[in-house]
Each structure stands twice: as structure tokens, then as C-alpha cells.
Amino acid sequence: MPEKKIRVLIAKPGLDGHDRGAKVIAHALRDDGMEVIYTGLRQTPQMIAEAALQEDVDVVGLSILSGAHNVLVPQVIQKLREVGKGNVFLFVGGIIPQTDIPGLLQAGVKKVYGPGTDTRKVCQDIRAAMAERQQA
């Protein structure tokens, strides 16, 4: 039987138009053998949750550079729960002040990555989380 592929949704909520980071991470995960669904710019929390549902992803990565993470992330989490995808491995990348990280983690984000993060670290974290999940 073929191995279970890890499916990842990379989304950019909010209004900023800087998608370089999202594309870099999408590319890195692809090169690590994952199936990455890239949804493009200016996604609402509802659209992100809906895409996660339709694509049956295991992982959702949000790229936020607008500073609106404290508003957007809880909304995305809320919408993911509403559609029954509250169990995805959720990570956030972008410009996130240190002081905001504990709050995001508490809200349900699993990892927060700042500028300069080694993409291999992200791949490792995802694979570790998926392996753990399979054992559970």
C-alpha cells in the first residue's frame, strides 16, 4: 500500500500582498515530499477553513505579515473547528512579535516561525507531529 502523503494547506489570510514567504515554505515542503495546496492571497478565515475541509489536509500553515495575527489567527481556528477540522497541525509564519507568541500558542497554534527560520526545521516539525499522531 502506498505511504500516506502529508497534505498541507498554505494560506495567506488578511490583506497584505507579500506572498514570498508563503511561496518559499510551499516550495520547501514540496521538496520534502509533501503535497502542498497553495491558495493564494487575501483569504478570509472562512475560505481557509473551507479549503482545509475540501482538501482534507493534515496541516495548515498561515503566512501573516500584516500585523493582524492576533485577530486573524483565532478567527481561523474558530472556523476550522466549525467545519470539523480543529485537529489540523496549525503553524504560523511571518513577522510575529515575541510577546504575541504565547497567546497564539495558547489559542491552538502549534508552532510560530519568524523570519530566517530554516525551512528544514519546519519540515521536521511537521513530520514529527504526523508520526506522533499516527502512533496515537
Partner: protein, 337 residues
């Protein structure tokens, strides 16, 4: 496999639908059981394939088509299967077709599922047909199947779809390109997208010339006035279908109404001419043959003593045996057949 999932699928639960698609895609036991249980409920949906070169505008066209379909009265429920290639080196894939489908993401009557080819050639993934069965059983009326960016020979979609739309763009080749065998031949509808670009008229003429060559001997449709509407020309079921050549600008939704009309006309033509059943039958025949082939290969492999394949391969590498006689030898050596 939980019957609960299946029950929920029939009730229209999108989460259940999504889960079942994953089970089917990973070729799990649960997936085969789901397909088994759902098969009796299939056979109703209109399956439409959209194929063409990378960057021709397939995703944008699918977006515009689905959007237009959903604006009709008694709007049909639309499923979209968007296939993108898997990297042959890493096994990963970047599935980016959703980027071009912003108009559909808030519509509960549309379900978009991206899939990677996972090594399959021919423009589709191994599980694309199974996906279309799941959507069909789940009550989706129209299934739009977008292939990977296709070159000249990725023509698998024609075995799956009732109606195949081939998307071309201005300036992609001369009349020699258009008389080659392959992708253009499978078109039920030809679309020249990005028709605001220079050379659109010329592309249309090339394609029409190609069609005339192909149909002049067998067709009596030649004396129809070219301005007769597609629908009127093609309703007469005794005539062969002559693929219309249409111009669209997908991102501006231009020409989409006409494309939709052609799609519906083709469906009517298939039903009235009896070709719908013929296509169904052919597709199912192929499905059985594929299953037999897979099954035989599995049995052959299981019945082979370990190491024998490698040994024989080595003999072939050393030119002590030809691939053909190696195959003969390995077939006879297997206990599974």
C-alpha cells in the same frame, strides 16, 4: 470502513465526502469498500474534462465555467477535480489550481479537490476516476476534471469524461501542429483562450481547417450555414458531432456562456445519439480491464520467490537474456498465476 461515513456522505456532509476521497486516494481497504458501496449510485453526473498546455488557462476557465453554472436557474451542484503533477524526484507536489478559482470558494454548491498525479502518466492521477465516482454518488451533477498541463499525448481524460474540452491559446503553433495526432483529436469542444491576444483569429482558423479535413469525408454537416447556432446544428442525432471552436477570455468571463451552451449541446447529442451509453460502456470495460491487469500483476508478484526478479534482471543487464525471454521465464516461475 464506517457505514456512518457513507450515511453522512449521502446526507450531504462535506467532511465525510472529503474523508472518503482521502481513503480512496490512498488506496486503503476502507477506500475500496466505500467505492464498492457507492458504485450503484453512480452514472448520473455529466463528467467534463478540461485539458491543454500548461498556462493555457485551464484553471481560470474552470473557475469561470463553474461560476456561470452556479448562476443558472436550478443551479447544478459542481465538483471540481484539479490534477497537478507530482515531482518525480521528491514525491512532493505543489497544487496551485485553487489560486485561480477565487469565485468558488464561498459557494456551498461547489466542491474543489486538488490531487497530485503520484506517478501516473497520461494527465490524470490513478484515483481520478474513483474520485469522479464518489462525487457522482454524492449527488454532484457536473464534475469538471482539470488535467495536468498536457502536451500532445496525455489523453487519458477522454476515457473518463463524457465531454472533453481542449484549451489552446493564440500563437502556439502552425497548421502542422494542429494536424498531428493526439490531444487535439480528443476534443469535443475546442477553446482558444486568451482570445484578446494577437493571433486568436488565426488559431481559430487553423483549428477549424483541421476539423474540416477530419470530418469532410464522414460528415454531412458541411452544408450547414456557419452561423447556425451550435445547439440547432447538433441536436440532429444522426449526424456526427463536429467540435465547435470557441473563443474565450476566461479571466474576464468572456465567451463562457457560449462554452456552457456547447457543453450542454454535447451532452444532449450524446444522449440522443445513444453515444452516452456507448461511452459509459467503454469506460467500464476499461475499468474492468485495468483491475484485471493490476490483480494479475499483484498475484504474479506474490507468487514469485524472493530475489528471483533481481537475479533475472542481473542476467538481462549482463546481456545473457533478453527482456522478453526474462519476462517469459518470470511469468512461468511465479506460483501466483
Amino acid at each position: 470502513m464506517s457505514t456512518e461515513l457513507l450515511e453522512n456522505l449521502k446526507k450531504g456532509d462535506r467532511l465525510a465526502l472529503s474523508r472518503i476521497l482521502s481513503q480512496v486516494e490512498s488506496q486503503s481497504e476502507a477506500g475500496s469498500q466505500a467505492l464498492e458501496a457507492l458504485f450503484p449510485f453512480t452514472g448520473k453526473a455529466h463528467k467534463v474534462g478540461i485539458t491543454g498546455a500548461p498556462g493555457a488557462g485551464k484553471s481560470s476557465l474552470v473557475n469561470a465555467l463553474a461560476h456561470q453554472l452556479r448562476r443558472q436557474q436550478d443551479a447544478p451542484r459542481v465538483a471540481i477535480i484539479a490534477v497537478d503533477p507530482t515531482s518525480p524526484f521528491t514525491g512532493g507536489a505543489l497544487l496551485g489550481d485553487r489560486v485561480r478559482m477565487p469565485d468558488l470558494q464561498q459557494d456551498p454548491g461547489v466542491f474543489i479537490r486538488s490531487m497530485a498525479t503520484r506517478g501516473a502518466l497520461g494527465g490524470l492521477a490513478a484515483a481520478t476516476e474513483a474520485f469522479s465516482q464518489v462525487f457522482d454518488a454524492a449527488g454532484y451533477d457536473i464534475i469538471l476534471i482539470e488535467t495536468v498541463g498536457a502536451g500532445q499525448a496525455e489523453v487519458d481524460v477522454v476515457n473518463l469524461a463524457h465531454t472533453t474540452i481542449v484549451v489552446d491559446t493564440p500563437g502556439t503553433g502552425d497548421d502542422i501542429q494542429s494536424i498531428k495526432a493526439g490531444i487535439l483529436e480528443i476534443a469535443d469542444i475546442l477553446v482558444v483562450n486568451k482570445a484578446d491576444r494577437p493571433g486568436a483569429e488565426q488559431s481559430v482558423r487553423y483549428l477549424q481547417a483541421m476539423l474540416e479535413m477530419g470530418y469532410s469525408r464522414s460528415s454531412t454537416a458541411g452544408h450547414h450555414a456557419p452561423e447556425a447556432s451550435i445547439t440547432e446544428t447538433l441536436r440532429e442525432s444522426t449526424r456526427p458531432w463536429v467540435p465547435p471552436v470557441l473563443k474565450t477570455i476566461a479571466i474576464e468571463s468572456q465567451g463562457i456562456e457560449e462554452l456552457l451552451e456547447a457543453m450542454q449541446a454535447h451532452r444532449c447529442y450524446l444522449i440522443e445519439s445513444g453515444n452516452w451509453q456507448v461511452k459509459e460502456r467503454q469506460a467500464l470495460q476499461k475499468a474492468i480491464q485495468r483491475a484485471i491487469a493490476q490483480n494479475l500483476i499483484n498475484r504474479w508478484q506474490e507468487g514469485l520467490s524472493p530475489g528471483l526478479f533481481e537475479e533475472t534482471l542481473q542476467a538481462v543487464v549482463e546481456r545473457k537474456m533478453s527482456p522478453e525471454s526474462a519476462a517469459q521465464y518470470l511469468l512461468e516461475a511465479s506460483q501466483g498465476l
